[in-house]
Amino acid sequence: MNLIRSTKDQFQFRLGRREKQLLLALLKLYPCLPAAHQPLSKTSGLPGRETGQGLLDEALAEQRRENRRQLQALLADPGRFQEQETGWRLSLSPGDLEWLLQVLNDIRVGSWVLLGSPEERLVQLDEKTAPQYWAMEMSGQFQMGFLEATQGPN
């Protein structure tokens, strides 16, 4: 995947045919992270902690629903992916790119959690762990491609 053009309002990426298939297969895995995955605080006895935790879980669940809605809209929009001679051109606004990064990282971190949150990169691969390892690595690859676009020339 390459960034082919960027303006203030839009990024355009070129994806090979196989890359597009991989990205779509990956995005279908969203959401991956278990709900209420993280505590609001590690400090016990923090005033209002329980209420705050409830509000945080609710806000994250709402965010997830919104990301899912945007993802479905993106996948259903025929103008997003335009076929080219050698692959596809994907157009994204800066806002799209931002939530797509959240979606990809949910898949990456969620797959890592499903793998048992290993400290080391090396994971024992078998029929059960291979799909999660694939999702973790592939979402990281796309994430880095999109991140490069947000940074512009150094």
């Binding site: 993280q38 505590p39 590690k42 400090t43 994250l60 990064l101 990282n105 990169r121």
Partner: protein
């Protein structure tokens, strides 16, 4: 205070980007805190009222970073 904790899964580039977006920091400051997380296991990102700290934790967790709100000792 808002604390971000180290984990072995989030990319350094990604963490830097999230700090820039959530706090509006310039890249050098975002990188400084990212490296603190990476090398020291955590970084205090903000000392704010409880309400604002909760809002920051929500923003950071939205990006799946390991962030929490802790009492300032």
């Amino acid at each position: 205070m808002v604390v971000c904790w180290n984990d072995p899964v989030n990319y350094m580039e990604y963490v830097t980007h999230v700090f820039q977006v959530v706090f509006g920091w310039a890249r050098p400051k975002a990188e400084f805190h990212m490296l603190q997380v990476h090398e020291q296991g955590k970084s205090v990102l903000a000392r704010e009222s409880m309400e604002r700290a909760e809002a920051y934790v929500h923003q950071l967790q939205k990006y799946s970073l390991h962030a929490t709100m802790e009492r300032d000792q």
